[in-house]
């Protein structure tokens, strides 16, 4: 067969979203790739300019459809910095709990999609089954399974329902042995190693050159986790290890994500214990009622209160499940942010696609892209 371009996408089982990977192949060998993004571009940064600070949270859930709470957290930190608001301690713990549960949920979703990419059928269902438990927890205190709108500038919307912490502990107890099962199904299989070892190698220096972060960077042996390196929220209060692996290949990324889930469980146990022991307010008192009210004001009346905030720029960066996400919120004193800029880790991870795809086989593309964990929502924004 001579060389040809094939379009893997926009509707293709490999993409896990809506994007197009143009691949130039010779027989089964990949010669060149060119990702085409933008199929899911909704102009979230533009819409945010027309919205109140709390209304942007709604968009954050839609930015990344598997890690909505992490993106809410990202935006909230930046917005609070821009508006000079300090949340109460309990709210910070609640946010950490959200983010860690979201990390588990996102990684389980990744696991399910990834094993499907290498042809493992059953673990797909196992991953989805266990993710459902996490979603049930979300539902019990945010009321939603996907679009939570839980965090508010200055705190969180509501406290936990009674009995939540016990339920959370039950879920965590269920999850830990499941991770071992996942490992047995994947790492215990020779075919898995045949498929995934030394595949999609992206060395540490290449990662840094291309701005690749998150599990991909840690799989190259770089011990960089913003929760540890630059603790935001109250991550310095909890005890956990940064998951790293050597090899920089698909297997290493698998190991990193699995270890991250275990560490998340470890963090969650501490956070849940803390939440049990320390009741308190979940919303800062300095936040005007119309802004942090449990139910955001409906209609435009709420925004007629032309409260002036001091001008400022807020920058935040968090360790989102896919990598390092950043938000840059410019506050010009109005009721809307003047400009919101988000940095999506997936965006950067995908931009390096040529580096880690060229030279492998067509059949290797799904496992490699699966190990990148593509969430097109946050990439296109």
């Amino acid at each position: 067969m001579s060389e040809m371009w094939i379009n893997m996408g926009p509707q293709h089982p490999m993409t896990h979203g809506l994007w197009n990977l143009r691949v130039r192949i010779d027989g089964e060998t990949v010669l060149d790739v060119d990702p085409e993004m933008g199929y899911l571009h909704r102009g979230i940064e533009k819409i945010s300019e027309d919205r109140h600070y709390n209304e942007v949270i709604t968009l954050m859930d839609r930015t990344c459809y598997v890690a909505g709470l992490a993106w809410e957290h990202l935006y909230i930190i930046a917005a609070e910095k821009a508006l000079r608001i300090q949340p109460p301690e309990r709210a910070d713990y609640l946010r950490m709990m959200c983010e860690e549960f979201q990390r588990i949920g996102s990684h389980l979703m990744w696991y399910a999609a990834f094993v499907q990419d290498i042809g493992l059928m059953s673990p797909f269902l196992y991953g989805m089954r266990d993710r459902d438990l996490v979603l049930d927890l979300f539902q019990s205190y945010t009321g939603a399974r996907m679009t939570y709108e839980y965090m508010r500038v200055g705190g969180v919307r509501n406290d936990l329902p009674p009995g939540f912490t016990d339920q959370a502990r039950k879920v965590l107890d269920w999850l830990v042995p499941r991770f071992k099962e996942y490992d047995q199904l994947c790492l215990g299989s020779d075919i898995f190693h045949k498929r995934c070892d030394h595949l999609g190698v992206l060395s540490a220096s290449d990662c840094i050159r291309h701005g690749v972060t998150g599990p991909m960077l840690r799989s190259a042996g770089v011990k960089r986790d913003l929760r540890k390196n630059r603790p935001y929220s109250l991550y310095k209060e909890v005890d956990f290890d940064v998951a790293v692996a050597d090899g920089a290949d698909v297997t290493a990324r698998y190991l990193v994500r699995m270890e991250e889930m275990r560490q998340s469980v470890r963090i969650l146990r501490q956070v849940v214990d803390w939440l049990d022991a320390h009741p308190g307010p979940v919303m800062a008192e300095t936040v005007p009622r119309w802004m942090g009210a449990p139910y955001a004001p409906v209609g435009r009346e709420g925004y007629l209160l032309k409260r002036q905030y001091p001008k400022g720029v807020g920058f935040s960066s968090i360790e989102e499940p896919h990598g390092e996400a950043q938000a840059y919120v410019v506050n010009e004193g109005g009721e809307h942010p003047y400009r919101v800029k988000f940095r999506s880790p997936v965006f950067a991870n995908l931009s390096a696609a040529r580096t880690y795809l060229v030279g492998y086989h067509v059949a290797d593309i799904p496992p490699i892209m699966g190990s990148v964990d593509v969430c097109v929502g946050e990439c296109d924004r």
Partner: protein, 158 residues
């Protein structure tokens, strides 16, 4: 690393190209520079100061002018740094950073199509998020979304 340290380190290399270094919450500082000095600044920041990781490039339309900012990160210093330059709105172009940080490639493509800032010597300045041939630049202030009042909202519950 404090803003004053940064200024001391950068001033000799850039001379008049450096406007100043402002403090910035959660970062080493905010380096303001003239676009002529862009490439020198990028190289100095990357090679001399060790900010090897470019996190994002973004543009802000201030109507009178446009601002382009670069967020970079150093693993050794464990610090972020933001570089920012102002460009005249009618002639918004700046040297591309993708020769120094390859990760700038896509971010600059996005900034180009969103806020209409041209990056000189960019290897591949194509549309990324909006379709090819799209003539608008959505993140300019002149690109208006619909006004909420213009929408006729008919609620079923009224």
């Amino acid at each position: 690393m404090q803003p004053a340290d940064l200024e001391r380190a950068l001033a000799p290399k850039l001379g008049a190209g450096l406007i100043g270094v402002e403090p910035f919450e959660g970062m080493a500082g905010r380096v303001r520079f003239h676009r002529e000095a862009a490439l020198d600044l990028f190289r100095t920041v990357r090679e001399d100061l060790g900010f090897a990781h470019l996190s994002m490039v973004g543009g802000i339309d201030w109507v009178t002018h446009r601002e382009v900012f670069y967020v970079v990160w150093s693993d050794d210093a464990n610090q972020y740094l933001v570089l920012s330059t102002d460009l005249p709105a009618e002639d918004a172009h700046v040297e591309s950073a993708s020769g120094v940080w390859p990760s700038a490639n896509w971010h600059e493509r996005e900034t180009w199509e969103m806020v209409d800032v041209t990056f000189d010597h960019h290897p591949d300045l194509r549309h990324l998020l909006v379709p090819d041939g799209y003539v608008f630049h959505p993140l300019l202030r002149s690109f208006k979304l619909h006004e909420p009042e213009e929408l006729e909202v008919k609620s079923r519950h009224v």
